[in-house]
Symmetry: C2
Subunit: 449 residues, 2 copies
């Protein structure tokens, strides 16, 4: 992405030690761009630039820096400066930061936080990974039923600066039980003396702290929410999930699925920032597993050595058969896995998917094997039995591949396993083995090998 | 996803023709849930239920219905009712609807629209698919520099009900040139008599109507915006992109990439709502292409018929070699394609990616071929030359596969082709062919075949 600010100009100020101009220029920029600028600087320059920032910008810029740069900065500022940043960070950003930093730095950061902030951060750090609790934020605006619109707007004005998203306000009672929701739009469009109780929408769609974050994201997308309240088991309001976190989760979850389906152990860091050995490690595990299953397929092939020693031509059709089988299977599994990820397909649809894949595979299998049969009659005019063998094996392979590809991810989900792991690579290997057995069984029957 | 409303109760009202209770019950529900309810009903019942809706809900529910149900309803209501719905729809929702409906219905809908709405809809329909223009909405709040905070809030109150997102307001001059941005949060936290000119942020990050929608989505995610202004070439404000559309685009684009990478022609409709023949058609094209390339691989294999006729054992290592090559290549291509899709990797990183993949492939290739060599020494103790052949071929295959897998998607992007199409299936086929050539070349050299 191109830069939206003048990098050379800012570096110029820094090199000429013109900190006043630098400070003034940075104050004009967006915090995302300032973080980008600081990230591009060498270590000592980065710290210098960060320290010239106006106080009110420091925390926002800090939360946009990558963990390495955050660590450098934490290492070079005083406890007082650190404490100011931690207090200014939104709790969810502080938690994100702490999860990436080494334990010694985390200790120093927590020590610098006010007791209240520290207890909130600790509470957040304890929510399980991928739970709603782990992505929620604790800053939101709560109102009471008895307030008037005017009271509510006053309250927003007073507490608004600390809230990540002020546009949806939650109505709670004395025990913090969630009673309703009211938007700033409702407030602005209402009369000053209407009460929140009359204005609020009492049926609130919520998420629970321990719920899977993906489910909450699906719900927010379904209803086009920009924030959603998070409650504990007793329906007490404890936080909100905001749309910016939802977008991050969506992108992360899709990336994870891409990685799993390509047989890679998912990693949280961007490709270019991951070291060669980490990248290699994340890939070797699955390649080894799949290599072993490739050996098993080789073993199955070995059982038919007599057949292809007698007719070596048979071997040349193996890549076409196994590739087509693998591709046909991945098509089905990908559609089903993605359908489950976006909430279009659920466990109740098992038989509908099976029936659909069966019919699709009959159509696809028939078309592909017809093309193959015709082509073999032309290229190998003297061997109609061979053409029939390949065509029949291809048909059976496609039907088998698509049925397995459609059903396996759903079975995985029912067994609480991750459907994406059951995808392309594993299915390809299973399909390969079956395809070879089908092919040589048909060949033995039709060609008498 | 479970239902958040009482389906049986609502159907009960409908069957007892108790339309008054139905109307009252529906008025309590969220428009997404009402649409879900109507969608589950048989055709005539769906129309009946839709017509009992209070007027102010009709358009919102309508925009949440799938195209088939929309069509049924359009076919059964009067022109006057239709016109009321079209006027109440947000322009982008109306456009989404029209893009899915048959031409005859579109004509009737456009005829029912007021001239102003019609011209807006037509303008939107002309923006190219996947452009920012095609997802923007025309309803937003524009302010002038000279207004005070009080004026601005009055204006929001007056026009707010028609605006999809009122929380970010745009400041324009008399020629509609964009001058700045101010949020409702800024307004609420400011004094009543401050002017918008003093309060607004003059550096606005925008999107252009003809820009690729993916780029705009990336920018919104980068800056955590909930809406972004869209300008034409002359920097005149023409619309906004809102976060709910952004989430839909993100999900769609990821789904498209999943489909392309699994060799499927992307489809806009959910799996369970797509017919068997459409599903088959979307899959056959690529399967045919890949089947042909599988045949080419078979042809390459045919050139070594003499070699494996002399030593049939060689054949049994082919699945392991080609599978591992294919998997190694897909790993690299998937990481690079996804990295480009989320904006982490750009064309400038070409040599960095090449260098990284080369090093990763040396590590991975060495590890895998060492495991294989050791295993072959055990399973085939008399043939160290064979073990060496397989190990060397595997090493070269992994290096080749990862280098091609990393570089091909980037090359595709530079040639303005779609990187996702260059992914798994195509790379697998290319890698298969190269792997066989490498394998038999090594075998001929070391085993003297």
């Amino acid at each position: 992405m191109e830069m939206e600010y003048d990098f050379d100009l800012l570096v110029g100020y820094l090199e000429n030690r013109d900190y006043r101009s630098l400070r003034a220029a940075l104050a004009e920029e967006n915090e995302v761009d300032i973080a980008d600028f600081i990230e591009r600087l060498p270590q000592e320059k980065a710290t210098l630039a960060f320290r010239t920032l106006p106080k009110e910008l420091a925390a926002e810029v800090f939360s946009n820096l990558p963990p390495e740069t955050q660590q450098v900065i934490v290492g070079s500022i005083t406890d007082k400066e650190l404490s100011a940043i931690v207090e200014d960070l939104f709790v969810d950003d502080a938690v994100d930061m702490l999860e990436e930093l080494p334990a010694s730095v985390v200790k120093r950061v927590l020590k610098s936080a006010a007791p209240e902030t520290r207890s909130l951060i600790n509470q957040f750090l304890n929510y399980p990974e991928n739970s709603v609790g782990s992505i929620m934020t604790a800053e939101f605006i709560d109102l009471r039923k008895s307030m008037t619109v005017q009271d509510a707007i006053k309250r927003i004005r007073r507490t608004g600066e600390d809230s990540e998203l002020i546009y949806t306000c939650y109505v709670i009672d004395d025990r913090r039980l969630l009673e309703g929701v009211v938007t700033v739009k409702d407030l602005l469009l209402a009369q000053d003396d209407e009460t929140i109780g009359a204005l609020m929408e009492p049926d609130v769609i919520t998420a629970e702290t321990t719920e899977d974050r993906e489910e909450a994201v699906q719900r927010m997308m379904k209803y086009d929410f920009i924030s959603m309240p998070v409650v504990d088991r007793e329906n007490r309001l404890v936080g909100i999930v905001t749309v910016d976190d939802v977008m991050d989760v969506m992108e992360e979850e899709a990336t994870e699925d891409f990685e799993k389906m390509a047989a890679i152990v998912p990693s949280e860091r961007p490709y270019l920032r991951t070291g060669v050995f980490t990248l290699a490690k994340n890939r070797i595990v699955w390649l080894l597993v799949l290599m072993v299953s490739g050996m098993i397929t080789g073993g199955i092939l070995g059982r038919y050595e007599a057949a292809f020693a007698a007719m070596p031509l048979l071997v040349t059709f193996i890549p076409m058969l196994t590739d087509t089988g693998g591709n046909a299977g991945s098509q089905s599994s990908t559609l089903v896995i993605r359908g489950m990820a976006v909430g279009d397909i659920g466990p109740a649809d098992f038989f509908q998917v099976l029936w659909k894949e069966l019919r699709v595979s009959l159509v696809v299998g028939a078309a592909l094997s017809a093309v193959n049969f015709a082509r073999l009659l032309i290229t190998h005019p003297g061997s109609p039995a061979l053409a029939l063998t390949v065509a029949l094996a291809l048909f059976a392979t496609v039907v088998m591949a698509k049925t397995i590809g459609g059903v396996l991810p759903m079975a995985a989900r029912m067994l609480k396993a991750d459907p994406a792991i059951m995808a392309a690579p594993l299915i390809t290997t299973i399909v390969d083995a079956f395809a070879l057995v089908i092919y040589f069984s048909v060949a033995q029957a039709l060609l008498g090998l």
